[in-house]
């Protein structure tokens, strides 16, 4: 049925991603006719059932959108609700939020670098198989990941779905003495993080660049727990204008919505976008790491996103150490957030990219409407475009090798398909 030159590639279930997805590619001769990333993760309807819940509930509920980046959901939710109620959380409480989020960046990036992505570069199906030949390397990755999880467990109570986050701050804040042991763990992790940069810099990267616009938060510091959305083309807008600049539309084959920038169309969010827009805000040590990795002012090769993640791990550890060193326990664990009628918008930088939340509250603080735009759905069009160009340049490969490279191209984005509403099923149809 399949001709020699016309073919379809079909990866039925993507591995080493979070969630469930499939990929379909149709090729006619040398022309790539269609590329679809099909996120078939079952819809879970968070935006629908948040209606009628109290304004105090979204941090616990939206954490359940993703087990890998719950703090991102908790932070964007808190910031949106605080904005709706006219409350600003700053000073030591915001620093603690940033510290908890550093823990999530370290844990999530280490998971992606070592367990999900590196096996692609070294030719193993997964980290467990890789450990048979590179046990020390995998153990280093697990130590790094554990360091991030330890920060989350101390500050958040547990690493998956932390319990200590609330609208207005925390239920309980640590003493200086409680944070001190974290500093020792993080100082050791810094050596592992720098070794990770050196290790990943030695990988063989395909010569491939992408033309997408970027979208990331910007501000006084490298963006993690907040900031102002800004595009690579230089447009900047307040979080409450997000939906005027980013519009989502549904495609028939996916439960994740696609997002576009007004006037610009396709764009990229995540480590490459953050780095391009905020490189000068990295710490001196992280800048050194970027130089060690051979990164310039920006990185447009999605296969090198693993390098930028490794640099961000160095930054997150360095920043966590700075925050611990400067920590003075706040007078109270949270700021009161009395409900009022209104709408609030909240943004933060999940490890995979910008995460936007909006909530409308009634006078009693009950939620009347919720909107959540996760990074993976924003990146979906960019991933598809990369695949289209990558497949067009790799048609000499047989289906199995082509499918493998496509999966790798998707994993460059660390797509969190659970968020979008995880894994790749690839179909290549050649005719």
């Amino acid at each position: 049925m399949t001709h020699r030159h016309d073919r379809t590639l079909n990866v039925g279930a993507l591995a080493r991603v979070e969630g469930e997805g499939a990929m379909y590619v149709r090729v006619r001769g040398t022309r790539v006719e269609e590329v679809r990333l099909d996120i078939y993760e079952p819809p879970r309807f968070f935006e629908a059932f948040l209606r009628g819940r109290a304004h105090t509930e979204p941090p616990d509920i939206t954490a359940r959108i993703c087990g890998i980046c719950p703090v991102a959901y908790q932070t964007s939710a808190c910031r949106a609700i605080e904005a709706a109620c006219g409350v600003t959380v700053d000073g030591p409480l915001n620093d603690l939020r940033r510290l908890l989020y550093c823990g999530e960046w370290i844990e999530s990036h280490a998971l992606h670098i070592y367990l999900l992505h590196a096996p692609d570069f070294l030719g193993y199906p997964g980290a467990v198989e890789m450990a048979r030949d590179h046990r020390d390397v995998v153990q280093r990755g697990l130590r790094l990941k554990k360091a991030g999880n330890t920060v989350m467990e101390m500050l958040g109570g547990r690493a998956i779905h932390p319990v200590n986050v609330r609208v207005g701050g925390f239920y309980r804040v640590p003493s200086r003495a409680e944070l001190e042991p974290l500093a020792g763990i993080l100082r050791a992790a810094l050596d592992d993080a720098l070794a990770t940069v050196r290790w990943a810099a030695g990988f063989d990267f395909p010569d491939f660049t992408h033309p997408h616009d970027h979208l990331a938060l910007t501000g006084d510091r490298y963006p993690i727990e907040g900031g102002t959305p800004r595009t690579g083309s230089g447009r900047s807008f307040a979080p409450d204008a997000f939906e005027r600049h980013v519009t989502e539309h549904q495609v028939p084959y996916s439960t994740a919505l696609h997002a576009r920038l007004d006037g610009g169309g396709r764009y990229l969010t995540g480590p490459l976008a953050r780095y391009a827009l905020n490189r000068d805000r990295l710490s001196p040590l992280a800048l050194e790491a970027a130089a060690l990795a051979g990164l310039g002012a920006e990185c447009r090769n999605p296969f090198q996103s693993i390098l930028v993640r490794a640099v961000e791990v160095v930054y997150a550890i360095d920043e966590a150490l700075r925050l611990i060193g400067a920590y003075e326990p706040p007078d109270r664990p949270s700021v009161p957030v009395p409900p009022r009628e209104g709408t609030g918008h909240g943004v933060s930088e999940a490890p995979r990219g910008l995460l936007y939340h909006r909530y409308a509250l009634d006078a009693a603080g009950l939620i009347t409407a919720a909107r959540i735009v996760p990074p993976t759905s924003q990146n979906q069009a960019a991933i598809e475009e990369d695949l289209r160009r990558f497949v067009a340049g790799s048609l000499h490969l047989d289906d199995e090798r082509l499918a493998r490279r496509c999966e790798q191209a998707i994993r460059n984005y660390d797509p969190c398909i659970s968020c979008s509403t995880h894994f790749l099923d690839l179909t290549v149809e050649r005719s």
Binding site: P42, A48, I61, G126
Partner: protein, 263 residues
Amino acid sequence: MAEGRPRLAVWKFASCDGCQLTLLDCEDELLELAGQVEIAHFLEASDAVADGPYDVSLVEGSVSTPADRERIRHVREISRTLVTIGACATAGGVQALRNFADVREFASVVYARPEYVATLARSTPIAAHVPVDFELQGCPIDRRQLLEVLTAFLLGRRPDIPDHSVCFECKRRGTVCVMVAKGTPCLGPITHAGCGAICPAYGRGCYGCFGPSPAWSGARPNTRALLPWLDMTPDETRRVLSTFNVTAFREEREEEQDHDPPA
């Protein structure tokens, strides 16, 4: 190559990935475990997939689509032992909130074209579809409990997962009762142990993410006596019982309604 080692499979249905991530979060034990068992199917960790049958299947997530309703039957057929992990797989999860609403209306809130989305009206636990050998509760599950369950099934014994409530763990941890000392509403008395009583240790009440206790003996706590003691309005009580384990806490919700019907 893997002759003789028990074969482990990990499956995902509708969920957040947090429970299977718990296995990868066993940083100190993961490589040793991988030496003891053949990880034959674990898509989050490896694209090497060995065909079944499998000795132990860990199943995360609830059944919420027509395709998944068929897939869980297949997973059961190729699994000697099937263990569900987490609130989604054991009680339908947070996505079971649709069970008390009109799923078409839900879909219309999220999707411009709800007809493109294949979904069931209800999100149901795995045991509603196939026989389950053991259910491990939690949202997310606890790492220590997961290692105990895996060890037990690999050794061919019953897992030693205590049936008591969060209150026992709180006492063991030496945390002062937040309900007695501060009047903070706390679901600890009616919630299954396993997390280590984290919430009270962080100064908040338990929000019931491990579901009702005890799950196996059938002897539910005296919820009727306990709920009024929680010092919550009926709306607050209903909401806190209607989150991560909404279907598992159904009896408690009904008792609450008997006791104090909504205005």
